[in-house]
């Protein structure tokens, strides 16, 4: 194998392995937030390694720069949906107080009676 092919295979393998670990984490971890951490890894490390691999594979067509731009766009946009989902999960009270050891947000933004209405 040439150096180009080896790099492609290594990057694609790392990406796929991280996606697999993310899937395992989705099944194994107990609640919304920890599963979100696991799922976030598939979009950051997994997808960016696969894109870099594709960029190296199509090196002659100058696609590496395009892959880097794509990664930057994914990095800029995917945390928005993750944060929105985390906030929604917190506000509908789907995780407390079972899995959180410290919760400094509790008394700040959420009216307890409001949460009770949602969970009942």
């Amino acid at each position: 194998m040439t150096l180009q092919e080896t790099t492609t295979v290594v990057l694609a393998a790392i990406g796929v392995i991280f996606m697999l670990i993310s899937a395992v984490g989705l099944v194994r971890l107990p609640d919304v937030f920890s599963r979100m951490h696991a799922a976030g890894k598939a979009t950051t490390v997994g997808v960016s390694c696969l894109l870099l691999g594709a960029g190296v594979y199509f090196w002659n067509d100058n696609l590496l720069l395009r892959a880097v731009v794509l990664i930057a766009l994914i990095f800029a946009t995917s945390p928005i949906s993750t944060s929105a989902m985390a906030r929604a999960a917190y506000r509908t009270g789907s995780t407390r107080p079972l899995h959180l050891r410290v919760d400094e947000m509790q008394e700040e933004t959420i009216d307890p009676s409001d949460v009770a209405n949602h969970t009942s």
Binding site: L29, N62, A86, V102, E108
Partner: protein, 168 residues
């Protein structure tokens, strides 16, 4: 000349450079940007420092993504995941939308930490709520985010002296 105007000039230099090349290749934009940056940084050292701080922050962010994804992967694959979750409140010095959005995005991008909400305090300051998968010492994590992430972001949005008041 403000920093923002210099950035615009730098992108303009990249486009001009790329369009003057005989063959259309996307690398020309990168080369043009680097040449434009060198010229601008010579005449405006502050611009060079700001862009340097931005590049340093991006490298730091990529490195911390790699390190913490390996940590989270280990945690997922361990026999019984030793979860120690919690949400901590971090008082922010970041003020503008750009600073807060960059900080929240960087925290969410790093596996293991996740920004949940931003609250506007009564006195005009802001508090960021961060969920952590492996909390450990809550105060140490707060200090880490303030010194590692926030300081680096303020260094490229406000300059090295880290003034509290915004310029331009």
């Amino acid at each position: 000349m403000t920093i923002r105007f210099s950035l615009l000039l730098n992108f303009l230099a990249a486009i001009v450079w790329a369009s003057l090349q005989p063959v259309a290749e996307s690398q020309n934009y990168v080369v043009g940007f680097v040449i434009g940056f060198i010229v601008l940084a010579v005449f405006q050292p502050e611009y060079g420092r700001r862009v340097g701080a931005t590049v340093a922050f991006v490298i730091f962010l990529l490195w911390s993504i790699v390190v913490s994804s390996i940590q989270v992967a280990k945690l997922i694959l361990s026999r019984s995941p030793p979860l120690d979750q919690g949400i901590i409140a971090i008082p922010l010095r970041a003020e503008t939308a750009l600073e807060i959005a960059t900080l929240a995005t960087a925290i969410t991008l790093t596996p293991g930490t996740l920004s949940v909400d931003v609250k506007l305090d009564g006195d005009g300051g802001r508090t960021l709520f961060v969920h952590s998968l492996k909390l450990g010492d809550a105060e140490a994590l707060k200090r880490d985010i303030q010194t590692e992430f926030e300081d680096r972001i303020l260094r490229f949005t406000r300059g090295a002296n880290r003034k509290l008041h915004l310029e331009d």
